[in-house]
Amino acid sequence: MAVLVIAEHDNASLKDATHKTVTAAAKMGGDIDVLVAGKGIKDVMAAAAKIDGVRAVLGVDHDSLERQLAEAMEVVVVGLMDGYDAVLSPDTTTHKNYMPRVAAKLDVQQISSVTGVESADTFVRPIYAGNAMATVQSTDAKKVVTVRTTAFAAAGEGGSASASDSAANIGDLKSEFVSEELTKSDRPELTAAKTVISGGRGMGSGENFKLLEGIADKLGAAMGASRAAVDAGFVPNDWQVGQTGKSVAPELYIAVGISGAIQHLAGMKDSKVIAAINKDEDAPIFSVADYGLVADLFKALPEFEAELEKAGV
């Protein structure tokens, strides 16, 4: 059996989500190759060749792949699938964009956001906002799977796989990239951070998120938010944690002014330790929090920051 893992990268560097997807692939058994599709990807290919357990790295370098647009990725991946029994990608927006296209072209039912791999054809995935876990077995000849990377540990980096360039026949596309407006931040990436601090509607305004910044600085934390905070325009859309936003599973998740709706819990309840600050002692967030502080956040946050300082954090 051979499994193709699609790398997560930004053309310059390889992302940890790739290593985690390799771990999921390894549970299926068989040989693992990594596909790096992009533009100017030499360094990414070299990094992918170091991942433990990888047989070979295939690089497809093409102008149309700079942004990994859906149609171009479909052509590249479908073109390679003769040689593979399964293809796995992280379940980030880049891959969610084209993996269903790959599945449809291969006439395969995609298995989305798996959190467990039982065997080469059987997978566990959350449904209903994580309120139920379905174990499904695929009867398709080839498997198309996206992986909830927070559920898998990253593969190590002691490998030395071969790396080679592969050509792709990408013709005219019916879509083109126009522009991008990326949120600039020096903080760690939300889905990969060891600590995440999120604010909700209770923060009251975007300005008030400054109260979380000092704490995030001290803890080296990424910043997140509830849907309500994003909808209200307090913070950018890519901060949304939840069923329909990002899934995170850090060592520590701190929820501030977030009530704990099922859609929010779906994206963070696998965190190792959860702390919550909310003025309503009956807020559902306390039912998943290891440590709950019932307090007004405008009073509690400055105190929390000062206490961190005192504790030498």
Binding site: P126, T135, D140, K174, S175, R227, D238
Partner: protein, 249 residues
């Protein structure tokens, strides 16, 4: 421009799903069902396109049991022109749904299909992408805003790092994200009016689609529960616990 919007009837987002004791699935008897919230956003967008004179006809389609008609009526009450109901009592997977939707889109001569980015029950998030591929159309996933000029559709998408803008040649498919618009509530007169709007009755067989499932559900279980935690007195106690008990600072 003809716009087709597929809508799914799902467990209402306010209701917590309960796993059946025999682990065969989620209990959907006697619980509130509603239109998938992302599909309400898709319907709203289609109706706005028509109100702006950009769309000439808006069609709402649902694949599902007899009760899926109610979901179609909701779309009609929000302002869609007419409905198509593809009736089946089987649990169809996204691939089968996409194949049926392809046939409907072709039969209707749709220029634009707007689906939800995901259905909040099974969370596959794959129907839209599959449908676009089967039609060989370009896709704008997780739309934050969209606008048509001439034969092109400009879509601003929500991506992991922020926002990305793409330009699609029509015909095209768009999947909705939460910030695309705020769906309207249907007014009482419009609910009454919707009762008289036509809904065409179809079956998967009418479109010659093989809907045999590709996945076997072996079991559906409760997720691992978290143990209840404790309440702390103040910020100092919180820092102390996080540092000395949990060891995460």
């Amino acid at each position: 421009m003809k716009v087709l919007v597929p809508v799914k009837r799902v467990l209402d987002y306010n209701v917590k799903a309960r796993v059946k004791p025999d682990q065969s699935g989620v209990d959907l008897s006697n619980v509130k069902m509603s239109m998938n919230p992302f599909d309400e956003i898709a319907v709203e967008e289609a109706v706005r396109l028509q109100e702006a004179g950009t769309a000439t006809e808006t069609i709402v389609v649902s694949i599902g049991p007899a009760k899926a008609q109610e979901t179609i009526r909701t779309g009609l009450a929000m302002g869609m022109d007419r409905g198509v109901h593809v009736q089946t009592d089987d649990d169809l997977e996204p691939l089968a749904v996409a194949k049926i939707l392809k046939a409907v889109a072709e039969a209707e001569g749709a220029d634009l299909v707007i689906t939800g980015k995901q259905a909040i029950d099974n969370d596959y998030g794959s129907t839209g992408g599959m449908l676009a591929a089967l039609l060989d159309w370009p896709i704008g996933s997780a739309a934050n805003s969209m606008s048509k000029d001439g034969d092109a559709l400009t879509v601003v998408k929500e991506v992991d790092g922020g926002l990305q803008t793409v330009k699609l040649q029509m015909p095209a498919l768009v999947t909705t994200d939460l910030r695309l618009n705020e769906p309207r509530y249907a007014s009482l007169p419009n609910i009454m009016k919707a009762k008289r709007k036509p809904i065409e009755a179809k079956t998967p067989a009418d479109y010659g689609v093989d809907t045999t499932p590709r996945l076997k559900t072996l079991k559906v279980t409760e997720p691992a529960a978290r143990e209840a935690g404790i309440k702390v007195e103040d910020a100092a106690a919180l820092v102390d616990k996080l540092k000395n008990e949990a060891g995460v600072l």
